[in-house]
Amino acid sequence: MAYSATVVTDIRVGKHLYHNAAVTVTFEGDSKDVVEATDSHGSPIPSTFCQNPSATGWFYLLAKGTASVSVESKEQKLFARLQPGQVFVGLDQCNGGIGFGSFLGPNGLEPAYPLAFVLGTAAADAAAGSALSNPANMSGYAWSCLGYPPTGAGALNGNGFCTPPDNYPLQSDVGEIFFYLPYTEINADGSICCNHYGTLNFGTFSIRPRTGDERSGR
């Protein structure tokens, strides 16, 4: 499948900062390679907040595949191939999160950096039984946050802020890439307000068969 997310945001590629550029992250992989994320003991990480107490949800990820980033700004386009092993497609089934996470940052695994979505129709699609296997389009609250969610949820401990990404580059064939989160609602001390609701930016996420997938029966 091909997973694709688009948002208008600030992004740095090498030394060039693009302000309010249309950024698309794409990941191509095989949904057969989706696995349950595990903790340091090898135990699956539960997705804990299903409203239905009998429901079971897990945090899934797809790390095997190829990722790229395209940036469109002032009618100029830039395309970057990410080095393998940095970005994964993530699905937080019960919390209603979906998008691209990474093996970056101080925690070693980030569910919402470089770009992931919560709430919106993305939440409904994330909660669907086979959310990473079926074609779909959705929209939601866009997060590019190291340390998400800001005030924590379940096993994720937030400190109120998103860690600035400048020390955690994504490596690509055209230089280091950094995603920013410029538009947020904040508290009096400058921390991000209201946890999942704190971003003021929204974007879209799509799941598609890759070209040739249908022919090959995937």
Binding site: D10, L119, G120, S139, Y141, A153, T184, N201, R208
Partner: protein, 254 residues
């Protein structure tokens, strides 16, 4: 160097008084609205497709008038517009007939999007009221995006970058909010609080494009409500699970 040439050089280097005037320089501007929506383009019916409406115009044609909301300004502009529909089965790009749609930003209501002769809020408006519809904007609250944040001016509740976003259609900016795509009225739901559900009807006519008539009719709206997973810290409203969108204003060459 000849005498004539030396005189020309001298003339060229005579200090001249510098006159600085406010520049009303016209610049190309591109308005791009991205969201997910339901509708029909020509004979192709689509559900939850990526819908992008883009208009190429010029900043010099931006018009402004007092907002009917009682304060603020209504900005509008016109130009060549296209709609792209990508539902996963095909990607279709259609050109709107001239003057079929216009871009608008009503700072008095906190609403932006593309309007038409059918309705100022149709085909798409961002950040309408979740209980009253697009006759008024949403108050600044969680989920109302940069449009809600900019409504009423800078605030300590928002990041510096948010407060610095220009309000208008002549400068590059980013306007975000929940997406309303309905030419008629949304159904009104009451549980747990009064809010809008799905769009109640089709538009009286299609918006004309070179690939046939274009319709949008929101089939999600705030109808999903609390049926979805919810964490323990929040009480979700129906529009928390609606479609959201952004209107990117990008001035070229400035």
């Amino acid at each position: 160097m000849s005498t004539i040439h030396r005189q020309v050089v001298k003339i060229l280097f005579i200090p001249l008084p510098v006159v600085v005037t406010a520049c009303a320089c016209p610049d190309p501007v591109v308005y791009t609205l991205r969201t997910v929506a339901d509708g029909k383009l020509g004979s192709h019916v689509f559900s939850e497709a990526l819908v992008t409406i883009q208009m190429k115009a010029d900043t010099k044609t931006v018009k402004q008038q007092a907002s009917a909301a009682g304060g603020g300004t209504l900005y509008t502009n016109t130009g060549k517009a296209t709609v792209t529909v990508d539902d996963g089965t095909r990607i279709t790009v259609a050109k709107f007939a001239p003057d079929e749609v216009y871009v608008r930003y009503d700072t008095g209501a906190g609403i932006a999007g593309f309007g038409s002769s059918i309705s100022p809020s149709y085909p798409i408006a961002l950040d309408c009221s979740e209980s009253q519809g697009c006759a008024q904007g949403d108050i600044s609250n969680l989920g109302s995006g940069t449009l809600g944040a900019l409504f009423g001016g800078p605030s300590n509740n928002f990041s510096q970058e948010t407060n610095l976003l220009p309000t208008g259609l002549q400068n590059s900016t980013l306007l975000t909010g929940p997406a309303f795509s309905c030419a008629t009225a949304y159904a009104l739901l009451s549980n747990p609080i009064p809010h809008l559900g799905v769009c109640g009807g089709t538009a009286p006519r299609g918006l004309h494009t070179d690939l046939g008539d274009f319709f949008l009719q929101d089939q999600v709206g705030g109808s999903t409500g609390n049926a979805l997973a919810a964490d323990s810290e929040s009480i979700y409203s129906g529009w928390d699970f609606a479609n959201y969108g952004s209107l990117q204003v990008e001035v070229i060459n400035r």
